[in-house]
Symmetry: C2
Subunit: 246 residues, 2 copies
């Protein structure tokens, strides 16, 4: 048995998210199915992802690992996966990893990008990979608000899991907001993120950008530790997991 | 009544092509429906396109004109269209044109791009806008073959309309083939193209690139004036109408 590290790309549009759910289309489920077949349909293959992405969220650099028994080389495993996976999931790389490598426990950082589009004419060809806004928000105000969101904080107000028993303290060391040709790209880097945290941060930043909230209010929202104080959750299609650090 | 010129973008994946067909989803049909409603559902509105694109073919710069009676400004017409058209059709620009402007008769040139992908890992996010190849063809050989295809020729061998009664002579003044990061982009410019002509030219060039045909054979194919001598028709999803010249 060897442990393999994989880098995976997917268009999450038609999936219920990363995590395996019996009878549902999920990315983890699709990959496990193909690997099970590849390994001769003996034992089940378990694929461990660096994290879970929500229904409709995309990834350009999801990392996962799987312990398997196979005679194929890593490149052959990659080719096998790409041949049998649906066209909206691709495996960019397969490498042999140390037996202790665990895609979730060993992840030390993640980069996510959220993309909005507010141009005068809707954008046809990448329409499934951004959220369309009615008007261009004030980017400078959102950048001011983002300053409060960065750092080490208790992000309870930005977590959609009311039963969360573990710590809701996280470190977000980068929030970059750039506007270009009608697009607004939000790039987040942190040690890890709570359930729906990025989408709630984006929803809150857009409230600021649309003038419904002052940048300083974001500080109060953090201090409140109360989900109802933050903005709405931005839709999934704008979100993409870009990279996982180890 | 005024004449309006429009520049239209569409993802042709789910359409039976540009041209109106009763009871079928076509791009012309969708636009005519919305304009009919916009003009108060009085007289039918006829949209004249610069040309027809096949089922599944895309456009970034289709040009069309329509003679209509409306109080809306050109920008308001554009916004109305973008609000009510499906998400895979967008109108980039609407301008008032001279009453004699005719999108088809006045077109003097067209640029099409055909995109193939032959990278080691399938490409997920733009998968509907290219044709995937099993292996990278020889670009230099295709460029040699393209030299024969350029110029003023009778392109009967590259026309899928056996009943074509009119002249099959056309001028193709540019065929550029570029490979980059696993993609191969074929750019064609000419005065006009016969039915399926670009897809048959690409299919023939790929035969050369895959070593099934010598570059010089393309000259013989042109001279034969016989469709059966040319290569197969490349699939529609790789093709996009980029620009129309007037």
């Amino acid at each position: 048995m060897k442990n393999y590290k994989m880098i995976i790309c997917y268009d999450g549009t038609r999936y219920l998210g990363w995590e395996h759910q019996p009878g549902k289309d999920t990315i983890q489920g699709k990959i496990e199915q193909v690997l099970f077949r590849m390994c001769g349909e003996g034992e089940e293959v378990k694929v461990i992802g660096a994290g879970r992405t929500d229904a409709g969220v995309h990834a350009r650099g999801m990392v996962a690992n799987a312990v398997m028994e196979t005679e194929l080389t890593p490149d052959e495993i990659r080719n096998y996966l790409n041949r049998y996976l649906p066209e909206d999931i691709a495996v960019k790389e397969v490498r042999e990893a140390s037996e202790r490598f665990h895609a979730r426990y060993n992840a030390v950082g993640k980069t996510y990008r959220y993309t909005c589009f507010a141009g005068p004419v809707k954008s046809v060809f990448d329409r499934k990979y951004h959220t369309t806004l009615d008007k261009m928000p004030n980017v400078e105000k959102m950048q001011q608000a983002a300053e409060y969101l960065m750092g080490k904080h208790d992000y309870k107000s930005f977590c959609n899991n009311p039963q969360m028993k573990k710590s809701t303290i996280r470190v977000v060391d980068k929030i970059e907001i750039r506007a270009k040709s009608g697009y607004i790209h939000f790039t987040f880097h942190g040690t890890g993120f709570l359930r729906n945290m990025i989408r709630i941060m984006v929803g809150t930043l857009l409230e600021v950008g649309n003038g419904n909230m002052k940048p300083e209010q974001v500080k109060e929202i953090i201090d409140a530790k109360d989900r109802s104080q933050a903005g709405p959750m931005a839709p999934p299609e704008g979100l993409c997991l870009i990279e996982v650090d180890y």
